[in-house]
Symmetry: C2
Subunit: 343 residues, 2 copies
């Protein structure tokens, strides 16, 4: 590699002995040029280490190769994990993903959408805040930019939705808990930020109805995205007041359950499927830390890979179709029950 600095594509074209439009074509799709010229270009590329100016590239292009990925809360390892898979898929497909976290704030979510708008991305994968989202703002954004919603649905917004089937989660845990012991009560936040929480509550009620059992819902206070602490405080209160309606607790999500288990330990309440234990606790999401809780958490796992794959695939279809799909697909993936120590 020579240390000669190359200013622009013209210079590189001269040095590689290929015309500039062909070089341009190569960078937009290496397979679009004859293999012999491709070899020449790549040889020169090794020799001179030239990279086209991305700003100049994108300014005059119909569509950039950028993809925006937006999650509501990146400090939640669940979103970090799914973002990781999404990023990888985009890179493999030749796109340049950029990752954004709304940090649970509506203002930031809107600001991110503004930023994305000016990035002129080929498409966007958006997991909205949920109840805290500015629906109209997102709606307008989705009209302008090809967007797939994931994780948390907003009815009718975006070209498609890809997520997990909350009924599949809850039906499996309820069925399992009921079959292997006593009836579960449902432990959740009073005002959940995420619409999945509502779907899960409804699924619980529906399952209990089908099984001809009386449902019990335990609602705890707290706002924001610090679910573990909220779950812990709620559990401390419920356990202390002896207000648990049943000896089996089904938490709406793993992060609440992590807090719940922490409270149990603090109060000396033993948790496990063992007969000698005081209570059982189960949950949903298969959070990356759920296998390291004490005891390890029985939960229902997202099909991360499928959700990510299908979201990205749908986005690529959307991009290929020019930004519009005929009908708004809502694709839900089933959960997988993970039996561990806690229930």
């Amino acid at each position: 590699m020579r240390h000669q600095k190359i200013r622009n594509m013209d210079e590189f074209a001269t040095l590689s002995g290929i015309s500039r439009p062909t070089i341009s074509k190569y960078f937009n799709d290496p397979d679009s040029v004859r293999s012999s010229t491709r070899d020449k270009i790549e040889a020169a590329l090794k020799e001179y280490d030239y990279r086209p100016n991305i700003y100049a590239m994108n300014q005059n292009r119909r569509l950039t190769k950028n993809i925006g990925i937006v999650v509501p809360y990146l400090a939640d390892p669940f979103f970090a994990e799914i973002a990781r898979v999404l990023e990888r898929r985009c890179i493999d497909a030749g796109f340049t993903p950029s990752l954004y976290s709304s940090h649970g704030e509506q203002g930031l979510e809107n600001a991110i959408l503004d930023t994305l708008r000016s990035l002129k991305p080929a498409g966007v994968l958006l997991a909205p805040l949920g109840r805290a989202s500015d629906r109209k703002y997102i709606e307008q954004f989705c009209r302008d930019v090809p967007t797939i919603l994931f994780d948390s649905n907003i009815e009718g917004v975006g070209a498609a939705f890809v997520g997990s089937d909350n009924f599949s989660f809850v039906s499996q845990t309820v069925e399992y808990l009921n079959r292997t012991g006593n009836v579960p009560c449902f432990f959740e936040m009073r005002d959940p930020v995420n619409p999945n929480a509502n779907k899960r509550r409804h699924a619980y009620l529906e399952m209990m109805r089908r099984l001809n059992l009386e449902p019990h819902i335990v609602k705890i206070d707290g706002t924001g995205w610090g679910f573990e602490e909220i779950g812990r405080q709620g559990a401390l209160k419920v356990l202390h007041d002896n207000m648990l309606p049943t000896k089996t607790v089904l938490c709406s999500n793993d992060r609440l359950a992590i807090g719940f288990l922490s409270a149990c330990h603090e109060l000396g309440v033993t948790v496990g499927r063992d007969e000698t234990c005081d209570i059982r606790v189960a949950s949903h999401d298969d959070h990356p830390y759920s296998r390291f809780t004490c005891p390890s958490l029985t939960t229902a796992a997202h099909d991360y890979e499928s959700v990510a794959d299908h979201a990205v695939e749908t986005l690529f279809q959307l991009i290929d179709a020019g930004g519009k799909l005929n009908n708004r697909e809502e694709r839900l993936f089933a959960a997988r029950l993970i039996m561990r120590g806690s229930a």
Copy 2:
């Protein structure tokens, strides 16, 4: 707000009654224009909702307003948290941060640096992979792009380093553990990826020497960034073989400790500061989940805010200074001991 679409700055200039160069000046620094014209521009901005094309903006500018933030592993809530604070600081200062995770892979770290290079950022905040980093690659990058290293130092690379003082972490935990009970052994991975791990081991050995105590280091196998599982497997083995040299365990970091506690629970080994407990466990980092382990984890906390503030401040100085600082400062922040249930 009228729904008229504005194509470019020229059009917006006409509509707002201000000349284009002045509009351009305004977007580069609103305070650089007279307040009366600023008012006119901002009135028109509300009316027409125009945003300059960022690609056209950046292509012909010496320096963009972009700042790159790179962390080794975003699924680790510690990095997610510090990234959150860094992002916020950059936004508040009028910059546009973009976040990248190396996902523990050298290839990806290098690819991210390539991407950043073509983004022509004003500056970069880089937490390198550590031992897995391609030193020469990073060195070359830092020569071309104003870069501040944080969390994990590479001697002589980058314009400055901002991180935590590992000796401060370990000295406090060792002193505390020794004072309140028996001597701690040091639990760590055999081949740690992060240079902080080595500093912590040395700090442990030094502290034990000062206290005239015999050091014991327990090294466990495992590679990669799945520290919890590595800690768990290591602990299962050590506990099963009864190879723990002392009844107090000081883990190199919280993620290992989370795995350790999980193993203890599985094997029925009780953990806590209480006399009746089998062992005590402490650690370092004050990981976001360390307060929710069972029992909650005694640990030494990073001064997140100070590290983030100082890293960003130093970067801004670096940018103002035109990309070069006279001497490479290495700034370390002290830890704060957090006493919880585990030790």
